[in-house]
């Protein structure tokens, strides 16, 4: 289960090959050909062992695209490719995004595909087209694929499993399996794990008293298909009413996609033609499992409960299926990019993405931007402020799994500063053996941990229980991985957007991400105390994980409290107060650096500040000589992402630890 997520296998680096040219002894090897050098200069993608055969993505210059837009595509194709064995030349995005202005700003209109016979080496064609001055970049279409051990354990209602349910769970919905959902309400029952810890969950029990999600929040599940006929998901699906009530085979809503009722299938390698398909060989139920964690219908007397699945009145968030994988097939870079654009164009405000390139594929952000330019631009399309549709957000939020390679850095694209990258915890609030950690990781959430639970599979409930597909396992199954941790954060974010909408508040992406990354519980102390943990048949040391799992474990209640208003800090006037910033920025994360504190002159006067506040070792020292209230802003950098928090300082003659007035 270590690789229980989808990974994109990317191994051969054309760029690396290029860099090698200058390092090797050129007297002993032939000079690189002109076409090889051209490709080395223009290669934007790393040629994967799993790249698509007979297919390349190219990025053309403005003059060429202008001619194509005038209707000269055949002439351009002739001029560019005469003498080459090219069969097809067409725009890479089979449907151009709705927001043409943003699409052009990001150069999305300049991407095209060329197709040729699969027997011809892709590299040879790549070298040939790279010689053309009109072609600026050449990108191999890397194919994502499900890891072979993406295993689910079906929920089978046998006596041993019945007896293994958590005792004392108080989830307020009548969904019969929710006593197994320690990720929502962890009672610390030792039947989950000998090391299970009460409260090691997503902190949603109190949060549900404020919101259980609202249907105007649409979460795009960019993943394997979501089985939209699943009895626990059907009522939670985003529905394109025009297509639902329209004519089959007709683009009834004019969005360029035919029959996209619940979303769209971006895998083009089968005969599905855009129809969501969960019946292909090799299907795992991964996307359906992810979707159920976020939005399986609450209180319908069926199966499981979910984070943002409503109050029992059909009022939860809505799930849009953006299918990237069909059985063992993958939509590739072009399909993934198109999926994000479709999600933005059709109203999704959160993109839930449990896939990525394995750790160490890219050295840094620039390396990702250079080598996966189409996907990078699509991410920027999704989060572009002009594409935000929900009134509570000025730009959309995109959340990725950190990866399951036990590596000391996050996978990309999750590691990008504009994305949230999620690491995985077990029912003990400790890192699971599979999780990545370190550079680029932002937050931790329950992802399940098989190895801390019962050795008997029929009694093991230490993974995450969610919806699945009966064609593979059963309607409900256990799975684990950062793929499962990621939708916990997406679900909490969906609750946050719902609540912000209810309160009439509006946040920028940076503000909302700051709130998300600082709505956490400390796990470092537990990691330090635990030292060793089981993984498969071995034990592993938790020492490397300390301060490297992100800012802490996500807590839905804390997020809603922050959304309600600027957190207030009461301090005693007439003395110097030390405020621990961990309460507002999460625990002492290794990659967290406090940058500055901002306070204006009026605020200084109101609070009677003799000098500017200072930050030392995660503590804000402030000396208020007068009673009064004013706002300050603290800036920090978390794993490469700059965040800031506004705090209200209430200086009083009386100070209570729990925030009470008296």
């Amino acid at each position: 289960m270590r690789h229980c997520r989808f990974i994109i296998a990317v191994i051969t680096s054309v760029m690396t090959a290029a860099s090698c040219i200058s390092e090797i002894d050129t007297s002993s090897v032939p000079e690189p050909s002109e076409s090889e050098l051209a490709l080395a200069t223009k290669s934007a993608g790393r040629m994967s062992a799993d790249h698509q055969k007979g297919f390349l993505l190219i990025y053309v210059d403005e003059q060429t695209v202008a001619r194509i837009e005038k209707g000269e595509i055949d002439r351009v194709a002739y001029e560019l490719f005469s003498g080459m064995e090219i069969r097809g030349f067409e725009p890479a995005l089979s449907h151009m995004p709705k927001n043409k202005e943003v699409a052009r700003e990001l150069g999305l209109h300049r991407w095209f595909t060329i197709t040729f016979d699969e027997s011809i080496p892709v590299r040879r064609i790549a070298q040939e087209v790279a010689m053309r001055p009109e072609i600026c970049l050449v990108q191999f279409n890397n194919l994502a694929k499900p890891a072979s051990d993406c295993k689910s354990i079906p929920f089978r209602p046998q006596p041993k499993l019945m007896a293994a349910a958590q005792e004392g769970a108080t989830i307020p919905f009548d969904d019969p399996m929710n006593s197994y959902q320690w990720n929502l309400n962890n009672t610390g029952d030792k039947k989950v794990a000998a090391t299970a810890r009460a409260g090691a969950d997503v902190g949603v029990m109190d949060a549900w008293k404020l919101t259980t999600g609202t249907p105007d929040v649409i979460v795009a599940i960019c993943d394997a298909p979501v089985k939209y006929t699943h009895p626990d998901l059907e009522a939670a699906m985003w529905v394109n009413e025009a297509e639902l009530n329209g004519v089959k085979g007709v683009d009834d809503d004019g969005n360029d996609y035919i029959d996209d009722i619940y979303g769209y299938n971006f895998y083009k390698g089968s005969g599905s033609h855009g129809a969501i398909n969960w019946e292909s060989a090799g299907e795992t139920g991964h996307g359906t499992h992810v979707a159920g964690i976020i939005g399986a219908v609450n209180g319908n007397g069926l199966g499981v409960s979910s984070i943002a699945g409503g109050s029992g009145n059909g009022d939860g968030v809505r799930l849009m299926t953006c299918q990237l994988f069909e059985g063992a097939g993958s939509a590739g870079d072009a399909g993934m990019a198109e999926a994000l654009m479709y999600a933005a164009d059709n109203g999704a405000c959160i993109a839930q993405c449990s896939y990525g390139y394995p750790a160490y594929t890219f050295e840094n952000d620039k390396s990702f931007m250079d080598n996966a330019p189409l996907e990078y631009r699509a991410i920027n399309y999704f989060i572009h402020p002009k594409n935000a549709k929900h009134p509570a957000l000025e730009s959309n939020i995109i959340i990725f799994a950190a990866g399951n390679e036990s590596a000391s850095e996050s996978d990309y694209p999750g590691a990008l500063p504009v994305c949230v990258s999620v690491t995985g915890l077990g029912a003990d609030y400790l890192p699971a053996g599979y999780t990545n950690y370190g550079k680029g990781c932002n937050l931790a959430a329950p992802g399940g941990d098989l190895w801390i639970g019962s050795y008997k599979e029929e009694e093991n409930i230490s993974q995450i229980l969610s919806t699945c597909i009966s064609e593979v396992a059963s309607d409900y199954a256990w799975m684990q991985g950062t793929s499962m941790a990621c939708p916990h954060v997406s679900g909490v974010a969906a609750l946050g957007v719902s609540y912000a909408g209810k309160l009439g508040k509006r946040f920028t992406r940076e503000e909302f991400t700051s709130l998300l990354l600082t709505s956490v519980n400390d796990i470092n102390q537990l990691i330090a105390e635990a030292d060793l943990k089981p993984f498969k048949d071995l034990s592993f040391s938790l020492r490397p994980y300390r301060t490297r799992m992100g800012t802490g474990a996500i807590d839905a209640w804390k997020l809603l409290m922050q959304i309600e208003g600027t957190p207030s800090v009461m301090i005693k006037s007439g003395t110097t107060s030390s405020i621990s910033l961990e309460d507002f920025f999460g625990e002492s994360y290794d990659d967290l650096t406090y940058l500055s504190v901002e306070i204006d002159d009026d605020a200084k006067k109101t609070l009677g500040l003799a000098s500017s506040p200072r930050i030392e070792k995660g503590v804000l020292n402030i000396a208020c000589m007068k009673n009064g209230s004013a706002k300050i802003r603290v800036y920090a950098n978390v794993g490469g992402t700059e965040i800031s928090r506004e705090l209200s300082i209430i200086s009083r003659g009386v100070y209570s630890e729990n925030g009470g007035w008296f």
Partner: protein, 140 residues
């Protein structure tokens, strides 16, 4: 015995009426305190409602800055005019307070070096605040 108590109470009531020249019984400070109050101190950007019940419990609804109202519960005790309290999470109030009530205005003056005053007027706690505050705040 009961008759005797009733008789003494009636005599006391008559006596007090005679002194004041009206019909209102003279309430003790504790009796006066046992009602619902609303803060009038606005300089600190806080809105506070508190109710003191005669069984020694209180409910505090407070909104700081632009946040929502939050509910704190606990117990209180009045010794002469000195008010102390404890939240349900075990935390003592940060200070004891000297209580004065004049013309339905409650002034609580902290019994510490700052002598901070919090001023309240008698006011019913709006039902919409009570309804939105079902979650009690405790130390987390």
């Amino acid at each position: 015995m009961k008759r005797l108590i009733y008789l003494i109470s009636a005599l006391m009531l008559l006596a007090s009426c005679g002194e004041k020249g009206g019909t209102q019984p003279q309430l003790t400070l504790k009796q006066k305190l046992c009602t619902e109050w609303h803060s009038t101190t606005v300089s600190l950007d806080a809105d506070i409602y508190i109710s003191f019940a005669d069984n020694g419990t209180f409910e505090l609804y407070q909104k700081i800055v632009e946040g929502a109202y939050r509910l704190y519960r606990g117990t209180w005790n009045l010794e002469e005019d000195l008010l102390t309290g404890k939240y349900n999470d075990g935390e003592d109030w940060a200070a004891a307070y000297k209580v004065t009530i004049v013309n339905n205005v409650l002034t609580l003056t902290s019994y510490n070096d700052t002598a901070e005053e919090s001023v309240f007027e008698k006011a019913k706690i709006p039902s919409e605040i009570k309804e939105t505050c079902e979650i009690e705040v405790r130390s987390r």
